[in-house]
């Protein structure tokens, strides 16, 4: 009897800790300066929050442990993938970054690639003979 009570208290506290991380994730999404930093706040804290809630429920209902493990694995795989897809799409369509942002190596490389493609296209249009020299 005492053991059940102890388990319930422990499980409830772990679920509460998970809820705290989920709350922090929400607060982070509100407070962060731009889309990318918001995605970051949303991804990390929700993953740990979710895992803690799963762990807490597992302590409350040990017979669900395997199913909860499966759910936790699913969250661990899909959460980063979705955040990556959102961030990639956001960067691709040029969502602005916070003013405090320093270097953006991806933008630099993409610009360099676009410049090169443009130069090559221009070269092909007005200088077919030059391309012949290269070959």
């Amino acid at each position: 009897m005492a053991e059940t009570a102890l388990r319930e208290i422990l499980g409830s506290f772990v679920v509460l800790a998970g809820a705290f991380f989920l709350f922090s994730a929400g607060l982070g999404v509100l407070r962060m300066p731009d889309a990318f930093t918001r995605i970051q706040a949303g991804t990390k804290a929700t993953t740990l929050g979710n895992l803690l809630v799963m762990l807490g429920v597992g302590i409350l209902h040990p017979d669900w442990a395997l199913k909860l493990l499966l759910v936790a694995g699913f969250v661990l795989i899909t959460n980063p993938v979705s955040s990556h897809a959102l961030a990639r799409a956001g960067h691709f369509i040029g969502i602005p970054m916070a003013p405090s942002t320093g270097a953006d190596a991806l933008r630099d490389d993409e610009n360099a690639k676009a410049e090169k493609a443009k130069a090559e296209k221009a070269g092909a249009e007005n200088g077919a003979d030059r391309a012949g020299d290269g070959a």
């Binding site: 922090s24 607060l27 993953t47 740990l48 990556h84």
Partner: protein
């Protein structure tokens, strides 16, 4: 027999990846919460079909599953990686709590390049996913063996130093587990 006919024959009779099959049937049993013979038979048939579809032949998923090889050493490194990962996940969250509850959010985000030694697709996937869950970093894109990472608080733009800080903890074990 020529190599060509040999490989065609092998494709026809190939079972696919045993790793995928075991994974599927284990998932099936856990979801059903039962080991009843009827369920096991249905699960085995379904798993066989899916395994055959996705990991036999020469599609890219087949290549991907073929690159995963189970061995005691691989499992050991994978478990070690999970341990490192959980420690890093907790650390990332504590850092994140620090930012979120700070009076003023004082960060310098940016996108940096990081090279990786990992060559297998599964290894790179695991690395990219781990990076997304660890201290202030998120993979934006990949070109060859270069990852573009959005870093919440850029500390350095030196490639070696960023690699050590961001992918360093995971790379060793993932390299041993997946190559």
């Amino acid at each position: 027999m020529s190599d060509n006919t040999k490989s065609t024959l092998k494709d026809l009779t190939s079972f696919g990846s045993p790793v995928l099959f075991v994974f599927l049937i284990a998932t099936w049993c856990i979801i059903n919460d039962s080991l009843a013979p009827v369920l096991l038979i249905v699960g085995a048939i379904l798993s066989l079909v899916i395994t055959r579809l996705f990991s036999a032949g020469s599609s890219w998923t087949a290549e991907l599953w073929r690159s995963v090889r189970l061995s005691p050493a691989m499992l050991r490194h994978f478990l070690a990686y999970l341990g490192v990962f959980i420690v890093e996940l907790v650390r990332a969250n504590i850092t994140m709590l620090g930012y979120v509850y700070a009076r003023r959010i004082d960060i310098r985000p940016g996108v940096v390049r990081v090279g990786t030694r990992l060559s297998s697709p599964v290894g790179r996937l695991a690395l990219a996913n781990s990076v997304a869950l660890t201290p202030g970093s998120l993979v934006l894109a990949r070109e060859g063996d270069t990852l573009y990472i959005h870093w919440l608080d850029v500390k350095t733009t030196d490639p070696d130093e960023t690699a050590r800080l961001i992918v360093g903890p995971f790379e060793k074990h993932l390299e041993a587990a997946f190559g």
